[in-house]
């Protein structure tokens, strides 16, 4: 049979998790209404297409964006420049980009691990909040004479808070077989309630003119900045370091391999004796922990205090970041920059062009939608493997 060796593109360690139905490449199976791969946010097999598809999606996003600006009566050139060029100009621009990209990258790295394991944690926003709350609990104890080393327990508290919030989901799934999708999402709202309670209640700054916010943290708690006068801090370095670590974990460790097998073929994982429970807990602790870490870096970094306005949707945007980055830790770094560009571009479009800042969401959605479309198209063009 000629199809004996026609699937040359699979690169095993780079892209091992695409849950392509087993039958597709088997001789004879392509003929009937074969289970088409779920219209899917899943890594494609070919390395080239894995890169080409997001680029095509970006191109579509740019074109549709241009149409959108024109429809709103603005110059398409100016609008696109505002979105894609302006955010990248100057040290300040790059610093602001880093401020946004750091939490996105950290959260999306964790989500990539989780999604690879087929654990659908969509509640990173809640874990982000929980991390910020835990970090705040430590940061509020700092006084004027506290050593600068307090940032270490602050960051660790954030990590722990996020892990604990993720562990709630893992426990409910493990113990009661509750859907982690629903549970993790609902726990976002619980976390927001908790945040509201703390900032309106016990943690409210007594000297804050009754604003719902904690007191500004002591000087010592501030996450060290990369350069004076810019808001970007060492969180960026942490994110840059976390990406290769995540890549090594997934592609070079037995534990990471087990996780990927649990996600790609649960029956094979059971046969091999890989623990699905361990996969579940690993996935949620890693993704929860990284989201919590991002929360700590945010609250002890650019914000400097805990307010109800802490959650701005990083946890949800990171889902898109993870998929645009093909669930690959290094791809996630690139896509987090792209998503940050959209955030800043949206703000600029609002302040300088008088356009609604909801444009950010439109662009993010466009990108994801275009990516899905490109993937489906690519799958179609390649055909069902002969």
């Amino acid at each position: 049979m000629p199809s004996g060796g026609v699937s040359p593109t699979s690169s095993q360690d780079a892209d091992p998790a695409s849950p392509r139905p087993a039958s597709v490449s088997m001789p004879g199976v392509v003929l009937l209404p074969v289970p088409e791969p779920r219209l899917g946010l899943q890594p494609l097999r070919s390395a080239v297409l894995a890169v080409a598809s997001p680029l095509a999606a970006l191109a579509i996003t740019v074109v549709v964006g241009a149409v959108l600006f024109t429809a709103m009566g603005k110059s398409a050139g100016t609008g696109l420049a505002m979105f894609f060029v302006e955010p990248l100009r100057g040290a300040r621009g790059l610093s602001e980009l880093a401020v946004k990209a750091t939490p996105l990258a950290l959260i999306a790295l964790g989500l990539s691990v989780s999604f690879r394991a087929n654990i659908w944690n969509i509640g990173a926003e809640g874990q982000f909040i929980a991390g910020a709350i835990a970090a705040t609990a430590v940061a509020m104890r700092a006084g004027p004479e506290t050593s600068h080393a307090v940032v270490v327990p602050i960051v660790l508290a954030g990590l722990g808070g996020g892990m604990a919030w993720g562990a709630l989901t893992a426990w409910l799934r493990d113990r009661f077989n509750a859907s982690e999708i629903l549970v993790s999402l609902m726990l976002v709202y619980v976390a927001e309630m908790l945040l509201g309670y703390l900032t309106y209640g016990p943690w409210k700054d007594p000297e804050g003119f009754n604003f719902p916010q904690t007191a500004t943290f002591a000087e010592a708690t501030e996450i060290p900045k990369l350069a004076a006068g810019h808001r970007a801090n060492v969180g960026l370095l942490i994110a840059l370091a976390a990406a290769p670590v995540g890549w090594l974990f997934l592609s070079r460790t037995y534990a990471g391999f087990q996780l990927v097998v649990c996600g790609a073929a649960p029956s094979a994982a059971r046969f091999a004796g890989f623990s699905a429970r361990r996969g579940l807990w690993t996935a949620l602790l890693v993704s929860g922990g990284l989201a919590g870490l991002a929360g700590a870096l945010e609250v002890a970094g650019p914000l400097g205090q805990l307010t109800p306005h802490l959650p701005v949707g990083y946890g949800f945007a990171a889902i898109i970041v993870a998929f645009v980055g093909r669930l690959h830790p290094l791809g996630v770094l690139l896509s987090s920059v792209l998503m940050s560009v959209f955030y800043i571009g949206g703000e600029l479009a609002q302040s300088r062009m008088g356009l609604p800042s909801a444009l950010t969401g439109v662009f993010q959605g466009l990108l994801l939608f275009a990516l899905l479309g490109s993937d489906a198209w690519v799958a179609r063009v390649r055909g069902p493997n002969r």
């Binding site: 049979m1 000629p2 199809s3 004996g4 060796g5 026609v6 699937s7 040359p8 699979s10 690169s11 095993q12 360690d13 091992p16 998790a17 695409s18 849950p19 392509r20 087993a22 039958s23 597709v24 490449s25 088997m26 001789p27 004879g28 199976v29 392509v30 003929l31 009937l32 209404p33 074969v34 289970p35 097999r45 592609s251 070079r252 460790t253 037995y254 534990a255 391999f257 097998v261 790609a264 073929a265 029956s267 094979a268 059971r270 046969f271 091999a272 004796g273 002969r386």
Partner: protein, 557 residues
């Protein structure tokens, strides 16, 4: 028949090239109406490509298709079905999460109301004896109630495909193919998992279909089946037609020669029952294993006892869905519900040990499902070695990919797996080659006990012989081998003794030389003498004392 002079289907000079391989080279084929026409050939002979061309999934580079005297270009399977061509595939194309009825419905090209659909399925299943016997396979006290009120019994059409065994899934495929009243039915290795009786039933069905004017293209490697069923036979080798003959008058040797170009590879002598078996505790012993069903369509295991000595091959026969999967999962450790004292290896209790711990003790398994269970299709062969082999896992928990690749390369070479290399995705291999790889992965690990499910299902004679040779060689080397198969011929060829599994109960052991196909067939339906050991073990259940039984306790003899 007035149309007898016009062939139902004629292929003229069909050639299909793929990069690096000519799948079909100037193939001519003529199928007359109402004829059961066999296509014989090894894996890679080009049978599948030829069928894909007929079924419209592949366009030939050169050549014509003539359908009922009219030249046609079949552009798609949909067009093929519209012409009246149906196909039953060797690899199933069923959605696991949907019911039988939904799967049938998805394959239809026209709208059918749900009621008509269910009625038609029931009618076809009855007419062709294609029922999927849920209440039969899993009879417990609860099912007795269902028997009294049959409407409440899980209906064939409403059952979920994921709950069906391989044999049952195949029956669903056949049912789906018959749904459109085809004029030409293509069957790819349809009998691989059927009992002898079910094969006979299928043959009756096929003969009846043929008598009604439906032509049948029957792809098979089983020479005796082809000779029993088919009146015409086209043999392919290397993409070319090497012979056209009447299989009823041809000898096996003639057919094999046309298929292989030589005699099939000789099989090593099966270990005889007389071979002296080592003393001491059995390599694997199961004592009074009872497990409730794990889901609605599972099978409860009742008082299963068996012992397996080093160097023997014990066969487990039975209709699919009789509890084979349940037993294997309990022994391998995938089913963690087994209580202490039930399963022991060389005298050591492993009932509560994990899969990995049992594997470390030398218990290895080749599961029935190759894709998705025995191997992860999207991963490379090198990565797939890591499922059951720890060669490439460093003590630090890091993976040594070069070691994994070297292991995969060794398996490919040693077990003659046709693959591009260690980096090939497991899913890109043909069924036979993937099975060789999976069996090789376990054999190469040096097991003490090997459990194998459906070792040669869907494989060509060459690959099947190779795998059986490996199993025989293992047993000669002192490994205890348990072969679960629905292919009786295979069990008779491979094993020294047999047990039969029916509805979760195990029959007494019988030496292969004393067994007949008729007797085993009867036992498959549950009619066997109650094994003394099961009755004994049920009455008093000493957790430590060895239950008398094992190879000596041939209650029937």
């Amino acid at each position: 028949m007035t149309a007898a002079a016009v062939p139902r289907l004629e292929l003229v000079g069909v050639t299909k090239r793929y990069p690096g391989v000519v799948a079909n080279d100037d193939v001519n084929l003529r199928v007359m109406p109402g004829v059961i026409h066999a296509i014989l050939g090894e894996n890679g002979a080009g049978k599948s490509t030829l069928m894909k061309i007929i079924y419209g999934a592949v366009r030939p580079d050169v050549g014509d298709l003539v359908w009922n005297g009219r030249q046609v270009a079949v552009e798609s399977p949909r067009e093929a079905r519209a012409l009246g061509i149906s196909m039953v595939f060797q690899h199933f194309a069923l959605f696991d999460s949907l019911t039988v009825a939904e799967n049938v419905w998805l394959g239809l090209d026209r709208r059918v109301s749900r009621r008509d659909l269910l009625a038609r399925i029931a009618e076809l299943a009855r007419a062709h004896d294609l029922g999927v016997a849920a209440p039969e396979a899993a009879r417990t006290a609860a099912d007795l109630a269902a028997d009294l009120a049959p409407d409440l019994a899980p209906d064939l059409a409403q059952r979920r495909v994921s709950e069906l065994s391989v044999g049952e899934r195949q029956r669903v495929e056949i049912l789906r193919a018959l749904f459109t009243d085809p004029q030409l039915l293509i069957l790819d290795e349809p009998t691989a998992v059927l009992t002898p009786q079910a094969v006979e039933t299928l043959f009756v069905t096929l003969r009846r279909l043929a008598a009604g004017g439906c032509s049948i293209l029957y792809i098979s490697h089983k020479l005796d089946e082809v000779r029993a069923l088919c009146t015409q036979c086209t043999v392919l080798r290397g993409g070319r037609v090497t012979g056209e003959l009447d299989p009823r008058t041809a000898t096996n040797a003639q057919l094999s020669q046309l298929m292989l170009g030589a005699q099939p590879p000789a099989r090593a002598e099966a270990p005889s029952a007389a071979q002296s078996l080592t003393d001491g505790p059995p390599a694997l012993e199961v004592r009074n294993l009872s497990l409730p069903r794990r889901n609605r369509f599972g099978v409860a295991l009742e008082h299963i006892s068996l012992s397996l000595r080093a160097g023997e091959i014990l066969g487990v026969a039975g209709i699919s869905g009789s509890g084979q999967g349940e037993i294997l999962d309990a022994i391998s450790g995938e089913d963690a519900r087994v209580q202490a004292g039930v399963i022991s290896m060389a005298g050591a209790d492993v009932s509560r040990a994990s899969t990995g711990a049992r594997r470390a003790l030398g218990l290895r398994t080749v599961p029935e499902e190759r894709i998705g269970r025995g191997a992860v299709p999207t991963l490379s062969l090198a990565a797939n070695t890591l499922l059951t082999r720890r060669d490439a896992v460093a003590s630090s928990g890091l993976l040594r990919w070069p070691t994994a690749r070297a292991l995969a390369a060794r398996l490919i070479e040693r077990f003659r797996v046709r693959a591009r290399g260690p980096e090939s995705a497991a899913g890109s291999l043909s069924g036979g080659n993937l099975q060789k790889f999976i069996v090789g992965r376990e054999v190469d690990a040096g097991p003490r006990v090997l459990l194998v499910a459906q070792p040669t299902w869907g494989l060509d004679v060459g690959a099947a012989a190779e795998i059986r040779n490996h199993l025989s060689a293992l047993a000669s080397g002192g490994v205890a081998v348990l072969v679960v198969s629905e292919d009786l011929a295979e069990l008779f060829e491979l094993c020294s003794e047999l047990v039969v599994l029916a509805r979760g109960r195990l029959s007494p052991r019988v030496a292969v030389r004393d067994a007949t196909v008729a007797q085993i067939g009867q036992w498959m339906s549950g009619l066997f003498p109650e094994p003394a050991e099961a009755a004994l073990a049920a009455s008093n259940d000493p957790p430590v004392a060895l239950v008398p039984g094992g190879p000596g306790a041939n209650a029937h003899a």
